[in-house]
């Protein structure tokens, strides 16, 4: 496999990394060379008028050459006051990230990758075979924009099984290219420029990016170790009648936290009181280990104001198929469908047929999935504890967040670099999941969506080479 093909596409954030030796990341170096070449040669960028409309490109170029963080002046509420700032904000979120660079670094050093949020094993045969059959049966043309009817039905049936809620697959289900697109379509379809949206940090990076595309005003509430509980008082003082929506990811990437019934009830009553929408990202709902997963939509009075989003990828280890969906009452589904129709128009047809089969998998499939992941988790968590990390409890997802400070590195990024180069293991620096990077500087994220041998090897390497200071 060529190096470039291993490039992370599962992006996680945007601040440029202070690499000491850019030449170790050849792909990145090519990018920077071409940014500069493109900027100076192209008349498109030469005109002064145009340059003033592209502060983001300038910001990108300056960040590449000086390795400084152009967004260090971020506060919790990026205020969009006039057009140039809005442009800069929108495109500032869309720079190439350190993850591409780390990916390259990892390959160069032959590091074991426990950073990437996708499995190194494949999905179940019965789902793959269904996709193959669909291709052979000629299901290769445009699907209905909001989903293949059988698939919409299967989504509704699964939702009923999981939550008890009965929904109309024709009017309340929209199929999208992964949950990522469901989030983008929900933001663009339901959020007006200037609307306030509450986000919990740390967060999956596409949330902030798409909120910025929608022109939203982001209000961030930070979840803190050791249990990353929702700070209720802070929430109460942040939410108001001006809040348009709140975004909840449960089970939560990167911490593995699962929102408790108490937390969800409190958030629900605040939302009802202030007429706030809720957008939930529940892609890890089948990887719920320490407690039952609860969908916000199933709480009293909440279905009518909730968009529930999910996908195939994590549950069936087929992250590259890009099959996701959004479930919402008709008056919210409308906006989601409109935006979706202009973003991608339709979703991959054969994979929808396969996903229909997948969602009808017997209970035994999900039970075995959980058992397998719990075994993997045990290997990793025990290993990390033995090595000397402070490991925070993770109730769900296939992620675990740890405190790396016992090893004496100055911050999470420095630690991750050290871990790749000196130990040969990849983790993700969590500062990239926060609006204020300082909030994450003590924490890094490991994933256990890898086969057991890989996990054991990684633990061995760390035991051997990672020494406490």
């Amino acid at each position: 496999m060529q190096a470039a093909e291993c490039t992370w596409t599962h992006f996680e954030m945007l601040r440029p990394l202070c690499f000491k030796s850019p030449s170790t990341t050849p792909l990145f170096f090519n990018f920077s060379k071409h940014f500069q070449k493109g900027f100076s040669d192209s008349s498109f960028f030469r005109s002064n008028r145009r340059i003033s409309n592209y502060p983001s490109f300038m910001a990108t170029i300056s960040s590449l050459s000086t390795h400084k963080d152009p967004v260090s002046t971020h506060d919790a509420t990026p205020n969009i006051t006039h057009q140039p700032v809005q442009v800069a904000k929108r495109l500032e979120k869309f720079k190439t990230t350190i993850f591409t660079q780390m990916s390259m670094l990892a390959i160069k050093h032959g590091a074991i990758n426990l950073g990437q949020g996708f499995p190194n094993f494949d999905g179940p045969d019965f789902v793959k075979e269904a996709a193959i059959q669909a291709i052979k049966d000629g299901k290769n043309q445009y699907a209905r924009g909001y989903g293949v009817p059988d698939f919409n039905n299967a989504i509704a049936a699964r939702f009923k099984k999981d939550t008890g809620l009965v929904i109309d697959p024709e009017k309340e289900v929209t199929v999208t290219s992964g949950c990522t697109e469901a989030i983008a379509a929900t933001m663009l379809g339901l959020i007006n420029p200037g609307d306030e949206v509450i986000l919990f940090a740390p967060f999956y990076d596409s949330y902030e990016a798409t909120l910025s595309m929608a022109g939203a005003k982001v209000k961030c509430i930070t979840l803190r170790p050791p249990d990353f509980a929702v700070p209720i008082d802070e929430l109460k003082s942040t939410i108001s009648k001006n809040t348009r929506a709140i975004l909840i990811n449960t089970p939560h990437n990167p911490t593995g936290k699962m929102f408790t019934r108490e937390e969800l009830n409190t958030i629900a009553s605040l939302c009802i009181e202030n007429d706030v929408l809720v957008f939930t990202d529940e892609v890890y709902d089948k990887l719920a280990f320490e407690m039952d997963h609860i969908s916000m939509a199933s709480l009293p009075g909440m279905y009518e104001r909730t968009v529930t989003m999910n996908s195939l990828g994590k549950t069936f280890s087929l992250t590259g198929w890009k099959i996701g969906w959004a479930i919402a009452p008709p008056h919210l589904t409308w906006g989601v469908r409109q935006a979706h129709s202009f973003l991608t128009f339709a979703t991959s047809t054969p994979m929808q047929y396969a996903a229909t089969v997948a969602l009808q998998a017997p209970d035994s499939y999900f039970a075995e999935l959980k058992r397998d992941y719990m075994a993997k988790k045990a290997i990793l968590v025990q290993g990390l504890k033995d090595v000397g990390f402070k490991v925070f409890p993770s109730s769900g997802t296939y992620f675990v967040v740890v405190d790396h400070t016992p090893f004496g590195l100055e911050n999470d990024i420095a630690f991750c670099e050290y871990l790749i180069k000196e130990v040969g293991v990849v983790a993700i620096p969590t500062s990239v999941f926060y609006l204020n990077p300082d909030d994450g500087k003590n924490l890094v994220r490991f994933t256990f969506c890898k086969d057991e041998e890989t996990l054991r090897s990684a633990v061995e390497r760390m035991k051997e080479k990672l020494k406490k200071k």
Binding site: E5, N30, F31, S42, F45, F94, T96, K128, Q338
Partner: protein, 396 residues
């Protein structure tokens, strides 16, 4: 709760093409409306996809090989030098490539020029990004471009112009002279050209598709979007791309990653096989579609149409209703479904702007990307009507 819809979403209406398709399904009508094939995709490409699934190409990926192939094609076909490492973004179909291109370029209040008639989705994208669509009407019956009208449409707020060639719905292929005129406008007003070239391999009568990017001063200000869908009859696979100067391509890739993260992985693998198809594949494709085009023209001729503009490319015939026909396009289409059991698309959905132009309600679009069996079935239906002389409303 209605108030919770964004102002942009409230203005959107459902796709008329998709609604008609549903009516046609109800009546079991022969579908000459939607622009996708009802015949199978090429076997070797399907096999490549099956193979990819079996070989575990199922996680997030970005297949660099696609970019390498595209760069080779751009050089061979258009003489353009494209850097496969920096100038290409892989997206979920041309749809997403276009959306990401718009989001990468358009700020609130920017104007975007579009030729009228045009594919209905461009406007929605532009509006979603805060842009303002400005239409430049092509003049019937030959859909000619008026240079003065075009130049008058550029303002200091114009950021981009959208160029779809070969053109949906008319089948027009913009000539080199017309491309020069558009290029002149872009250079003079310092604008970006965003092209939709999905029908690039479907041209007729020895006409060749040319990309505006190869004109002087254009490569640095052009974003080309295209896809596998129409060339390889796999509209449901969602594999497309944008080719642009590095900074734009990078922005597009980064936006794509936030919208969908990755194009479907096994189909990216299959794209490698598709893009390596021998030249005979493309020649056969063109030849077969040309036969279908000719057949369709005869078909409409038999029920009284006088086709004034022969499609030079794309999968569509855009035909004006016979002069004696007093029905509007929508009325005609409904009659055709009910009496002939054939569905086509009323042309009005492709027109925008000036409501007083009568001709906007006088066109139908016929898709001929259909199997021989389908086209023959349509011919048979028409034949029955002609023989029975039963339907004055659709026979002229």
């Amino acid at each position: 709760m209605e108030g919770k819809l964004s102002s942009v979403a409230k203005n959107f209406t459902p796709s008329s093409i998709q609604e008609l398709s549903q009516l046609a399904q109800k009546c079991n009508a022969i579908n000459l409306a939607e622009g996708f094939p009802d015949f199978p995709a090429p076997p070797c490409i399907k096999e490549a996809a099956v193979s990819a699934i079996n070989n575990d190409f199922n996680q997030y990926r970005r297949v660099q090989g696609i970019c390498d192939q595209l760069a080779l094609k751009m050089k061979k076909t258009h003489g353009l030098n494209v850097n496969p490492l920096t100038d290409i973004a892989i997206c979920c179909g041309q749809s997403e490539a276009f959306a990401a291109a718009i989001f990468s370029i358009i700020n609130q209040g920017d104007e975007v020029l579009l030729f009228d008639p045009c594919y209905e989705t461009y406007e929605g994208c532009i509006t979603l990004a805060g842009g303002i669509p400005v239409y430049v009407a092509l003049e019937p019956p030959q859909w000619t471009l008026d240079p003065e009208k075009l130049m008058r449409s550029f303002t200091s707020r114009t950021k981009a112009i959208v160029l779809n060639s070969p053109h949906n719905p008319t089948g027009k292929v913009f000539s080199r002279d017309e491309l020069e005129i558009i290029a002149e406008g872009c250079r003079r007003w310092d604008c970006v050209a965003i092209t939709d070239e999905v029908y690039e391999y479907i041209t007729y009568d020895n006409q060749k598709h040319e990309t505006i990017a190869k004109l002087p001063g254009m490569q640095e200000r052009t974003i080309i979007t295209s896809s596998l869908s129409k060339t390889f009859s796999v509209t449901g696979w969602r594999i497309g791309w944008a080719i642009a100067p590095a900074s734009a391509a990078s922005a597009i890739q980064n936006i794509h990653i936030r919208i969908t993260d990755s194009a479907p992985a096994p189909f990216q693998e299959a794209a490698l096989t598709a893009l390596r198809s021998p030249i005979e594949y493309f020649e056969t494709l063109r030849g077969e579609y040309e036969l279908k085009r000719d057949f369709c023209m005869k078909l409409l001729g038999s029920i009284g149409f006088r086709i004034q503009f022969k499609p030079q490319g794309s999968l569509f015939l855009f035909a004006e209703l016979p002069k004696d026909c007093l029905l509007s396009d929508v009325e005609y289409v409904e009659e055709l479904i009910k009496q002939a059991g054939v569905v086509v698309v009323p042309g009005r959905g492709f027109f925008h702007g000036n409501e007083s132009c009568n001709y906007q309600k006088r066109y139908i679009r016929v898709a001929f990307c259909k199997s021989g069996a389908t086209l023959n079935a349509a011919a048979q239906k028409f034949g029955e009507l002609i023989n029975a002389k039963a339907c004055p409303k659709i026979l002229y």
